[in-house]
């Protein structure tokens, strides 16, 4: 099952906090849809989904701190 992971941000920046999900579990996602907003110290950014499919499971909840490479969600 495709896993959406937190992309690399920059040297020395290893984690970000989930601000909010633009979709909920069960929603249909198209490749390129911005699926979740994350925040670091001075940047708020949207992560586009790399796959099309159904948002099966939100792994990182709003407020959670996620490390680079960690799973944000599972798409089916």
């Amino acid at each position: 099952m495709p896993e959406l992971k937190l992309p690399e941000l920059a040297e020395g920046v290893n984690e970000a906090v989930v601000s909010f999900w633009h979709f909920k579990e069960g929603d249909t996602i198209k490749e390129g849809d911005e699926i979740v907003e994350m925040a670091t110290d001075k940047a708020a950014f949207n992560v586009p989904c790399k796959f099309s499919g159904i948002l099966k499971k939100i792994v990182a909840q709003e407020g959670d701190t996620v490390k680079v490479g960690q799973i944000l969600a599972i798409i089916e």
Binding site: L9, V17, A43
Partner: protein, 209 residues
């Protein structure tokens, strides 16, 4: 570099214009564009911010917004730059882009003979132990918005109503405080645009188009 000057703008209106350009730049309908403005007085809270960092407002409007960072104040006499730029290497460039903005701010102040620098602990533009410029960005479709605010000659009193950027006891200064001469805001706008152009030539984070 394409740029527009909104004069003294309402925060919400400038935000609407930024988001319009984000879509256009993302779709390839517009080149990268630099929006320059001063805002009517407003206090904004970023995604990492807390309303607890506002002690009083004296009727200044407070807005929650979608940039990184904490609480800040904008008002006339503060130069605000919103670069709507496409990032070259997408997520990897987000924090390099923050450094790029700091470099632009430092270059700008050097044009007035002011030696500004980064502060290893805190992002932004600093002169000795005082903060003169703040940064905080948003990114949609790998296009940046929000940006940088540099104090030219604003009323600094409203900064005492808040804990700027969530930093305890931070000193806030302005270009006019440091240079002991009157600064022309239109001249400052030109210099800031020149700094963006000069530093952009060196930056690898921005799509050249």
């Amino acid at each position: 570099m394409k740029h527009i000057d909104l004069g003294i703008s309402e925060y919400r209106e400038a935000y609407r214009i930024q988001r319009e350009f984000v879509d256009k730049v993302a779709n390839g309908e517009s080149d990268n564009i630099l929006i320059i403005t001063e805002h009517k007085s407003v206090i904004t809270i970023g995604r990492k911010g807390s309303a607890d960092h506002i002690f009083k407002t004296e009727d200044i409007e407070v807005l929650n917004i979608d940039r990184g960072g904490d609480v800040t104040y904008h008002g006339p006499g503060q130069l605000v730059a919103y670069p709507i730029f496409k990032l070259e290497n997408e997520a990897k460039d987000i924090h390099n882009f923050l450094k790029f903005l700091e470099d632009v701010g430092i270059n700008f102040l050097s044009r007035y003979g002011i030696a500004a620098q980064r502060n290893p602990g805190f992002r932004g533009i600093w002169v000795k132990d005082a903060k003169i410029g703040s940064i905080g960005i948003g990114v949609k479709k790998w296009v940046t918005y929000h940006g940088m605010a540099i104090n030219i000659n604003p009323d600094l009193r409203p900064f005492s109503f808040i804990k700027p950027c969530g930093i305890e006891g931070v000193k806030i200064t302005s270009l006019e405080n440091l240079s002991n001469e009157k600064i022309d805001i239109n001249d400052a706008k030109h210099k800031l645009k020149d700094s963006f152009e000069e530093i952009s030539l060196l930056a690898e984070t921005i799509c050249k188009r």
